[in-house]
């Protein structure tokens, strides 16, 4: 009985976290297209930058992973490209500007990319 209860709680918790991770996929894709993310990042293939999958595997499960990626997209910090050269990462733009929820949603989508 207790075992079944634990399972039930686990299932409910899993469905909640899945819902949280699922984010608004269409909105995430829209924001990525709008910002030309795919010019440098593949979903599963590396281009000049790492694939979303690689980023997901690097950050998934880590504490503050969402915050780290949000900061990455908002700060325009220096990054290293596949050919070893360095430049500043594009700062993500939202309509309306600085909409944290839209950026967070995209980050949640990136973290949810599976092989």
């Amino acid at each position: 009985m207790k075992h079944r209860q634990t399972l039930l709680i686990a299932a409910v918790a899993a469905s909640f976290s899945a819902a949280a991770l699922a984010a608004d996929v269409e909105a995430a894709k829209g924001l990525a297209e709008q910002n030309n993310c795919l010019q440098c990042h593949g979903i599963k293939k590396d281009k000049d930058g790492p694939s979303f999958l690689k980023t997901a595997e690097k950050y998934r499960g880590k504490a503050n992973s969402e915050d780290e990626l949000v900061k990455h997209l908002n700060s325009g910090k220096e990054i290293k490209l596949a050919d070893g050269s360095k430049e500043k990462h594009k700062v993500i733009k939202t309509i309306p500007p600085n909409d944290a929820a839209q950026v967070k949603n995209l980050v949640q989508y990136i973290l949810s990319v599976q092989p």
């Binding site: 269409e26 297209e33 709008q34 795919l38 010019q39 599963k44 733009k93 309509i95």
Partner: protein, 205 residues
Amino acid sequence: MSNSGSNRGGTGWWAALRRPSAKYSLIALLTAGFAGGIIFWGAFNTGMEATNTLEFCVGCHEMRDTVFEEYKYSIHYSNRTGVRAVCSDCHVPKDWTHKLIRKVKASGEIWGKLTGSIATKEKFEAKRLQLATNEWERMKARDSIECRNCHSFDAMSPEKQQQTPYKKHMQAKLEGASCIDCHKGIAHKLPKGYKDPNAKDAEEW
């Protein structure tokens, strides 16, 4: 003979127009025609320019509540240097002939207004992909000349532009690509359902 005589001396507005003036001198007629021509030409072009202003474009709610709202957040509206590209700078050709052709075609939009084809935000969103595609095709057909009125590959500095975009721009120049091939949705939201054909793995979405 009698026919031509009756034409010259006939009545009616057409006959009156054809009849030589007996009252006004040639110089008076030429002066009046010259002045009338200037007034007509001036008024015509002033009218055409008046329909090229931002205020005119956002005079209707169809533009004001949708694409204008998005454009207000774009770099073409507000930026560090204070140079603004208004609607017509990107959407209406600068040279007179193509501008006139565009204006004539735009008169079709009056029909859209009358029938309310994009009268609500929902209706607009439903047609956004089709409308945007029309405009992208128009820009592509003219090799993005409205972009090139201000931007040119030759004026891009390898020092001032970041390496990745510079590399991509120079590649585009070699391949003869047009600005709009890559730069869609820069002043407005991309339509829902749009897929970037340049993103080779877009099918993975």
